[in-house]
Amino acid sequence: MKNIDWRYVLRLGLIAGVVVAYVSAIGVLVTFNSRSIVAGVLTLGQLILYIAPLWAGYLVGKKVLADGGSYLESLLSGLGVGVLSMVPVLGLIILPHALLPNLRRIFVNISPDLITLLTFQQESLLSGSLLLVGLMTALGLVGSATHLIPTQVRRPLAIALLWVVLVGMFSELLIQILRPLNRTLVTTFFQGNALKSNIALALFAITAALNWIVTSQRETVKTQIKQLPSDYQKGLYIASLVLVFILFMLLPRVVGSFLSEVLVNVGLYILMGLGLNIAIGLAGLLDLGYVTNFAIGAYIMGVLTSTSSLGRGQLSFWVVIPICIVSAMITGFLLALPVLRMRGDYLAITTLGFGEIIRLLALSDWLRPLIGGAQGIVFIPKPAIFDFVFGTSSQLYYIVFFGCLLVLFVSVRLNNSRTGRQWMALREDEDAAKAMGIDTIQTKLLAFTLSAASGGLAGAIFASKLGTIFPNSFDLLVSINVLALIIVGGMGSIPGIMVGALVLIGLPELLREFAEYRLLAYGVLLIVMMLARPEGLIPSEIRQRELHDEEVISTVENPSA
């Protein structure tokens, strides 16, 4: 038993328990319980309840083994974590029942529904609690027992589990997509809005097997491809690009209008993410007022195309798009002028202020005759080519898609150019960059200006997509969202931005009924990311090396000086 760090077990067990008690008390469990994953077996609420002891058991088992403990000790610690994680949850069940009947007045979410959920619909509270204790303890044990399975088996199993959960969670969407294709398919796979349990089992087995095959074959395929002549490799590369392109072109037809709408929103944030990435990821300029560019693009589009009394010119979408981009660039340039000599935190605070100023200006009575104040601008027409109107989300998708392609192309080109190097040098060490002959003022201005461009584009598309714009669409949260998706995806990483947008913008749209917990989830996600994976989901190669080469770094930074 000497290899078990009991304090760690105690801490982790209680943390897991408190997390469960907390999400119960604020109502997450009950809300999420309405979404079924596997019919009659598992709901999203239950999943959240189970994950904490499972994860704590996994961590504690890992630590015991790393400290040189035996498998038995690792299992024992997992058991301990499971038992401990129960304590706060049990308190949540017993306290309002036995001691503090008034507790519910403060914590309105500790409802009978929650108690029913926690005690598995048992008649008596006692048998229900015992069931919960048993289950959580077992989960702690299972968590630590995962280390008994060799890694190359454990990984496919974990990934398969994730697939089942994802497919189950989004059954409703899948049903909508599948129904027009084949009705019997839907009834064989799904029951209500969840996976059937036998199908879930089959899905688990298939994905696990597939994953196992893919991971074991990946290297051999890679080497085989490398042995091909370079012309073939190039051809293969181009072919895969074309394939991806075709897939993306077909996407809105396949996924239907709701998912297209989600994709359009994700696309708008990818546009903004790619833009802000120039300022933050490349040039290291922490700009917290990115919403400015978004607002400029949207309002210019609104004013110049609207058919309402505020509209001036009633120009075509395609004519106004370049005007929006250029205006955003000009604004970016002008707002960069006063902050040129600021660094780090000061820059962040000032740009934060700019973002708010823009929103207040849009709201103000002063600009009301021009842009409508709180009433905003209405009757902004949809983009059209001759008689073809991009009226629905599945049609607007293509505009966003090509916009993203364009900005992506520009980003990649800039990334690998002299300009990109100047930005990176500026980020790394402004003084040294100056000593290399880089005009830091010009470089900063260029970063702000180009960074603003795609924000303007996103705003313009946003305005004509919605048809109406109001000042409160341009609040701080837009800037924060864009910044968060860059951080979650990986600073300076272009694929990271796409994944970040999918996770932070796409997922919440798909989980609309839980909208009130959106910011809570953001906060948790950001904290977990900072602790567990500070380089982001898909880090740029550079950041990854930077944050995980600590041994190398320490030898470099501690010379005998």
Binding site: V410, R413, L414, S417, R418, T419, G420, R421, Q422, M424, A425, E428, D429, D431, A432, A433, K434, A435, M436, G437, I438, D439, T440, L446, L450, I542, R543, R545, E546, D549, V552, I553, T555, V556, P559, S560, A561
Partner: protein, 266 residues
């Protein structure tokens, strides 16, 4: 005076009430190796910063190759042909060695962001050339094969070399090295000394050196200038400096080790 590449005429630099450099008059002959030595806080690095435009001088005049430097920004001065390294290495740590040198080549690159986006033949050509030149410089400083390593992952000695390579990227006429052998062991120090001489002989550039290691200073300098409290207290050939009573006094007066020689300074 055309044989002097840099002339400082009665340069004074103050920080508030503190006079960091006082009435310093100083000349560097073309294609020579000149050292500035002096106790800690004597104003050596401040003088470097005055030459390179990081500080604006309060009085006096700085002339480089016939061009007045007063009032020019650091980046402009670099473009005139002065390159430097830093006392505490200041590479772009999260960029590769090659990228670091390519940033050093800035003064000779002219492609624009628009050219990069469009992918004009000119900017492609320039990128390829710049990379080739960077690889050549990397070989020149003895770092061949390490071009794709992140600068921060290089060993300490390699980082010093890379910093010199980066400075050479701008094809300078005058190279300022701020304690190039700081933190090196005797073997590395000897190699670096060799290398600095080689730099001058091979590339024909002028080198101004701040150095604490007296073996390096006395070994390669053709002229040594001693600063103390921002003032020049001695100037001459290494041998003359070694026997100068004011120099010995300046060093020992610091209350350092009670050594009779100045070998242990720093």
């Amino acid at each position: 005076m055309t044989d002097n590449i840099l002339v400082a005429e009665q340069v004074t630099k103050r920080f508030g009430g503190l006079v960091a450099i006082k009435d310093l008059t100083f000349a560097i002959p073309r294609q020579s190796i000149v050292s500035i030595i002096g106790p800690n806080g004597a104003g050596k690095t401040t003088f470097f910063n005055c030459i390179t435009g990081f500080y604006t001088i309060d009085e006096g005049e700085m002339v480089f190759d016939g061009i007045r430097l007063n009032g020019r920004e650091a980046n402009q001065i670099t473009r005139l042909g002065i390159a430097r390294t830093f006392q505490n290495i200041r590479l772009f740590s999260n960029m590769t060695a090659i990228e670091n040198i390519m940033v050093g080549q800035e003064p000779h690159l002219t492609s624009t962001w628009l050219g990069a986006i469009i992918g004009t033949p000119f900017s492609r050509r320039e990128e390829v050339d710049a990379e080739q030149e960077a690889r050549r410089l990397l070989r020149f400083v003895g770092l061949a094969g390490k071009g794709d390593a992140m600068a921060r992952n290089l060993s300490y000695g390699d980082q010093r070399r890379l910093e010199i390579a980066r400075a050479l990227g701008s094809k300078p006429k005058l190279l300022l090295l701020d304690e190039p052998t700081a933190g090196m062991n005797p073997k590395e120090t000897a190699e670096t000394t060799q290398f600095i001489r080689h730099l001058r002989d091979e590339l024909g550039i002028t080198i101004l050196l701040i150095e604490h290691d007296m073996r390096v200073v006395m070994g390669i300098s053709e002229q040594v200038t001693v600063l103390d409290y921002g003032e020049k207290i001695a100037e001459g050939k290494p041998a003359e400096i070694q026997s100068n009573p004011r120099v010995i006094e300046a060093y020992l007066g610091r209350g350092a080790a009670a050594s009779a020689t100045i070998n242990t300074a720093a």
